[in-house]
């Protein structure tokens, strides 16, 4: 009985994962009390979205031993959220989701600190995101996922061996649900496919031909889209339609009803109108719970190393019986967002013109007529003439200066490559390192191409 006394934690089950060794553990797993305490003390988790999934995620993460959570969401609570976004009450309607969700979880789970951010994800600068150990997504839009993905991948740096530098890897756990279906995935930039590598997984939104809407509507959705896309402009010339404005939505609904009556089409309802206009599929509370549980567990696994992680995409379908499956998607090696890009080393005196000439001879590129863009700055454009003229004066300026004198940076080039006399156009990511500037070590130089 002389065993070391293990302090009972709030969750016995969590301790079974964190305090004991095992066989299917992750790399560098070091079980023990210190691990449990470090998770509470040092792991900082950002939850993006405080809706159906976000509420579940905050609760699950708080109960999984994380003490430092932050949540970001730009929405306010609506009555229709209350059936599944269980942290909210009737009297909360109109308040910011992030603030109420943070408060409710902190009231219930002692020791947890949740900082809410009531704003758009684009409102935060890059340093804000850089601060977190891991980012968990409970979102319903492709645009927002793509944005956070590009932010997380922007921290990623590659060594001269084209391997990601571990300290620059910002893992993401992404959950998503649509009705009875959902997915949970782990994105470890540089190691597993990022969101852009597999963007084709998301089916494009169905778009009806405008002339069908205008001339030959056949379904309730056609009538709604007619009111939304055509009639709105006709009546409110110049005023933009705002899907988050209930008055606008009601107007579209009423017009859709008139349209449907005219063509004898049944089925236009207010909730269908919201669904069609905002491209929303009714949310199911249990789907959110299942997906959130998977995401919270992956977050715990990645941060603690207590188990190997999901590799790398789980789909769940509860529509007919229950079906789940894990697929290991592969990275797009040429991914512009998470790929290493081609390493190019330059003297600080090289002008943009000289650089463009160099690309033509670079053995890994052989890129002619290159246009160059650096982090949103279009340094040189070969076409159209109006842009060529606007960027031409850059050609004689050293690239180092044009890139803000950063020693190490990423830029993208578009141009023509020829392979076996066949010309194809290519968009390539380059990793630029300037030689002979402070901060560049010999090791960085070792892999010079």
């Amino acid at each position: 009985m002389a065993e070391t006394v293990v302090q009972p934690s709030r969750s016995r089950d969590l301790d079974k994962l964190l305090l004991r060794p095992g066989n299917i553990i992750g790399a560098n797993f070091d079980p023990g009390l210190e691990l449990r305490e470090d998770l509470a003390k040092y792991a900082k988790v950002l939850v993006v979205g405080a809706g159906g999934l976000g509420c579940e995620l905050l609760k699950d993460l708080a109960l999984s031993g994380f003490h430092n959570l932050e949540v970001i969401d730009m929405d306010r609570i609506e009555v229709t959220n209350l059936n599944r976004q269980f942290l909210f009450r009737f009297e909360d309607v109109g308040k910011p989701k992030a603030e109420v969700a943070a408060k409710r979880v902190m009231e219930r789970v002692s020791g947890v600190n949740i900082k809410p951010h009531f704003c758009r994800i684009e409102d935060k600068d890059i340093d804000f995101y850089s601060d977190f150990s891991i980012i968990v997504l409970g979102l319903d839009s492709i645009e927002a996922r793509s944005y956070i993905n590009s932010v997380a991948c922007s921290f990623l740096e590659y060594g001269s061996d084209d391997k990601p530098r571990e300290e620059t890897v910002k893992p993401l756990v992404d959950g998503g649900t649509e009705g009875f279906k959902g997915h949970a995935r782990v994105i470890v930039p540089g190691l597993t496919p990022c969101f852009e590598c597999t963007i084709w997984l998301f089916p494009p939104q169905v778009k009806f031909p405008l002339c069908t809407l205008a001339e030959t509507p056949r379904t309730a959705a056609h009538c709604i889209e007619y009111a939304h896309l055509i009639k709105w402009d006709e009546v409110h010339s110049g005023k933009a339609f705002d899907p988050d404005e209930p008055e606008h939505m009601k107007w579209v609904y009423n017009e859709a009803v008139k349209r449907a009556e005219l063509f004898g089409i049944p089925g236009v309802t207010y909730s269908l109108t919201q669904g069609v206009v905002k491209n929303i599929i009714p949310a199911i509370a249990s789907t959110n719970a299942v997906i959130s549980a998977a995401c919270a567990l992956e977050t715990l696994k990645i941060t603690s190393g207590c188990s190997k992680t999901l590799s790398n995409y789980l789909t769940y379908n509860g529509a007919e019986g229950l079906h789940t499956k894990v697929t290991e998607f592969v990275r797009d090696k040429d991914c512009l967002v998470c790929g290493p890009g081609v390493l190019v080393e330059l003297e600080t005196s090289v002008t943009l013109q000289k650089f463009i000439d160099l690309l033509e001879k670079h053995p890994d590129l052989l890129l002619s007529k290159a246009s160059v863009t650096h982090q949103g700055n279009n340094l040189y454009m070969q076409a159209p003439p109006v842009l060529e003229e606007m960027t031409r004066s850059n050609l004689s300026i050293p690239l180092f200066d044009l890139m803000g004198k950063t020693v190490r940076s990423t830029l993208h080039v578009t141009g023509t490559t020829s392979k076996n006399d066949k010309k194809t156009s290519a968009l390539r990511k380059l990793r630029i390192v300037f030689k002979g500037v402070d901060g560049v070590t010999d090791m960085d130089m070792a892999g010079a191409a």
Binding site: I134, L210, L336, M381
Partner: protein, 183 residues
């Protein structure tokens, strides 16, 4: 990874205010792909493009089309393009800013062009879209009407359609609608 976070966090505490220079570097995949599309534009002589927010905002631009043949010869038509950060997963949003008497463009500037909606594919590009728009002026079609009246006239009486188009472009009325001069 917790060890890494722990190290990082401790470093951060130590180096608090030591001015961590995190470079700002986010360019959406959509912007990059658009950069490629734009730098490879190869437009017919009758089409010009302009970037009203300068050389670094490619996501919003305008295209001017001056048809050199067909019903609309001599007219000048302005289109606005708005491209999403998830382009080319999503088609660019295009509106006709010039009020035009056209079977496939309504008076609010909505354009019925299949590749802008139901037939958009990520392999298509801005060049294809501009050619598609150009094509609408050389061959307006009465099959996909957005302006019902114009489509009916084109279908039933090409001569009348021609004279309506000329009248509209000269800055006159067709039916109850006054069109701005765009010649």
């Amino acid at each position: 990874m917790i060890k890494l976070f722990k190290v990082k966090e401790k470093q951060r505490e130590l180096a608090e205010n030591a001015n961590g220079k995190t470079p700002i570097k986010k360019q959406s995949a959509g912007e990059l792909r658009l950069h490629k599309d734009i730098s490879e534009l190869n437009l017919p002589k009758s089409c010009t493009i302009s970037f009203h927010n300068g050389k670094d905002d490619l996501m919003n631009f305008e295209v001017t089309i001056r048809p050199d043949e067909g019903y609309y010869q001599g007219g000048t038509f302005l289109f606005s393009f708005n491209v999403s950060p998830i382009y080319p997963h999503e088609a660019p949003k295009v509106k006709c800013k010039t009020k035009v008497y056209h079977p496939n463009i309504d008076l609010e500037g909505n354009v019925c062009l299949n590749i802008l909606r139901e037939d958009w594919k990520p392999v298509l590009n801005i060049n294809t879209v501009i050619y598609g728009l150009f094509h609408l002026f050389t061959e307006p079609n009465s099959e996909d009407p957005l302006n019902h009246d114009a489509a009916a006239v084109l279908r039933d009486n090409a001569k009348l359609f021609q004279s309506n188009v000329r009248r509209a472009m000269a800055g006159g009325y067709v039916g109850q609608t006054l069109f701005p001069r765009c010649l």
